[in-house]
């Protein structure tokens, strides 16, 4: 049996309909979109401009506000570093969250090394930012707030409409990493007062290696200093020959997402309910990490107490999921996102992210429920922690030996 893919927050397959649209741009329509002197270039440029419109339409932007990049990591870097450099006269302070993607956090760390100041706001147990804390963190030196729309590990959706309004009120630019949300839930740069947004094609059934940065053009006009020097493509903000097939695929993926999003969100919500209810019906001591209300339709992060995440993954190796367990990373530290929720390390070690998407089925979910239940049950029989809890021992009172 082929493994079941339930890691749609990591990446998605390119939709075959998208791939079909892309194919001719590798071999037939291969021109450089910057070649203004012949048909090959004009055809490529036309395809790029169509994709720009499709992506702009999905987020209610103007096509000229879409800057193509190599992916969302580059987009986040460009937004954060580019704004702080461009607006250096105005201030030197950025506000972000502890639970942001590394592309944002490490861009901020790089800024700190360059003498800028960064405030990393914590989140509540539900994973959501406190609007009061955000309001208090803004100073007259704050240039940028960078808060993600939906979190990659727990799927929690931040109140970006409120955040956008607050930033606008205070004359602070608002960047959001919208990689996980765009194409899955409503994202509107106008109603949400977003000034910059990082997007990625491969999280929405487009190809890998292409992304975009939305950069607001009016009210206010936002400018970023480029981080890559070269031929001045993309209105001078991102030099480099455009990845035409990738961009065409990104556009086609955006058009599909726009057409299918509402129905797909409903379907995924029901699949997720089937998964969560199925597991809860047969297992105790299972916890959902982060808000179960303000969350992406197809994503749920669960902790299975008294079972270690990597051993669980090993038991369900015919299901592709991610874990916040230390052992899955090189660092031996459990997920910083889960720790930011105030989750104890032991529950962070026991966490699994289930990410369902366009090609997930009820049969997939039923298989996953049965498998997870049987492996967790078996591992609990093996777990000294489970045994202690059954004996009525409070684990927090145990004196553990460290190693």
């Amino acid at each position: 049996m082929d493994p079941i893919y339930m890691d749609y927050n990591a990446t998605t397959p390119t939709d075959p309909r998208v791939f079909d649209v892309m194919a001719p741009y590798f071999t037939k329509v291969f021109g450089n979109a910057a070649s203004r002197t012949h048909q090959f270039g004009w055809d490529a440029e036309e395809a790029v401009e169509k994709a720009r419109e499709q992506i702009a339409s999905l987020i209610n932007a103007h096509p000229k506000e879409i800057v193509f990049t190599s992916g969302a990591t580059e987009s986040d870097n460009l937004a954060i570093k580019g704004v702080l450099e461009m607006y250096a006269d105005k201030g030197d302070h950025v506000i972000t969250l502890e639970t942001e993607h590394k592309a944002v956090l490490d861009s901020c760390k790089a800024l700190e090394k360059a003498g800028k100041r960064v405030t990393y706001l914590g989140v509540g147990a539900d994973g959501l930012v406190s609007m009061d804390e955000l309001r208090e963190a803004i100073t007259d030196k704050t240039v940028l707030v960078s808060i993600m729309h939906a979190n990659n590990e727990i799927g929690v959706v931040q109140p970006i409409t409120e955040i956008g309004a607050l930033c606008r009120e205070n004359g602070v630019l608002f960047h959001t990493d919208a990689v996980q949300s765009v194409g899955k839930i409503a994202f509107d740069v106008e109603s949400m007062n977003v000034d910059l947004a990082a997007l990625s094609a491969h999280k929405m059934y487009g190809p890998k290696g292409v992304g975009a940065l939305y950069v607001r053009r009016r009210k206010p006009r936002v400018r970023v200093t480029p981080i890559i020097d070269g031929g001045g493509h993309e209105r001078g903000m991102r030099s480099g020959t455009l990845n035409v097939p990738g961009i065409v695929g990104f556009g086609a993926a955006a058009a599909l997402a726009e057409a299918e999003m509402d129905a797909e969100a409903k379907r995924l919500l029901s699949l997720k309910a089937r998964l969560v209810d199925g597991i809860n019906a047969k297992l105790d001591d299972v916890y959902i990490n982060g808000s179960d209300k303000s969350v992406l339709p197809g994503t749920v992060n669960m902790s299975f107490a008294y079972v270690e995440g990597e051993s669980l993954l090993m038991g369900i190796n015919d299901i592709a999921v991610s874990s916040g367990s230390a052992c899955t990373s090189a660092s031996l530290e459990p997920s910083y996102v889960l720790k930011a929720l105030g989750l104890g390390d032991e529950l962070a070690h026991s966490s699994i992210r289930f990410g369902m998407g366009r090609f997930s089925t009820e049969e997939d979910v039923d298989f996953v429920v049965d498998k997870v239940v049987s492996v967790v049950t078996r591992l609990r029989e093996l777990s000294p922690l489970w045994e202690m809890v059954q004996e009525g021992i409070d684990l927090s009172t145990v004196q553990w030996s460290s190693h």
């Binding site: 008294y306 270690e308 090993m314 052992c327 032991e346």
Partner: protein
């Protein structure tokens, strides 16, 4: 991460899972590790009057390599004298299971668990001798 066949075999069919009566005088219990580190091993030995480990059981919260290390440790100590068991080195576990460097701590924990079980058994013998 790729696991060796032996780790997978111990994970799928762990040997000597269970518990012995930790109150019994001839049983030594070692619990090592901590939940926040992602591994806790409980290893128990039952020692005959002539100092031979006649039974061993374990329970482990941890990754596949930790489960395999403790499963292997129980197999190895069974039938040995307490003196022989005390000589077991984590490097033997690393070698047998082909553990990668990042998993060596699992074997260290298994060695610690054996030592802790032996120490617990020894302290019970000292108590009865008094």
């Amino acid at each position: 991460m790729a696991y060796s066949d032996k780790v997978i075999e111990h994970y799928n069919n762990p040997k000597n899972v269970g518990s012995l009566d930790k109150g019994a005088d001839n049983v030594g219990t070692g619990v090592v590790g901590a939940p926040e580190c992602g591994d806790v091993m409980k290893l128990q030995i039952q020692v005959s009057d002539d100092g031979v480990i006649e039974d061993a059981k374990f329970k482990t919260f941890g990754c596949g390599s930790a489960i395999a290390s403790s499963s292997l440790a129980t197999e190895w100590v069974k039938g040995r004298t307490v003196e022989e068991a005390a000589q077991l080195k984590n490097t033997e576990i690393v070698q047998e299971l082909s553990l990668p460097p990042i998993k060596i701590h699992c074997s260290v924990l298994a060695e610690d668990a054996i030592k802790a079980a032996l120490a617990d058994w020894q302290s019970k013998q000292d108590d009865t001798a008094e």
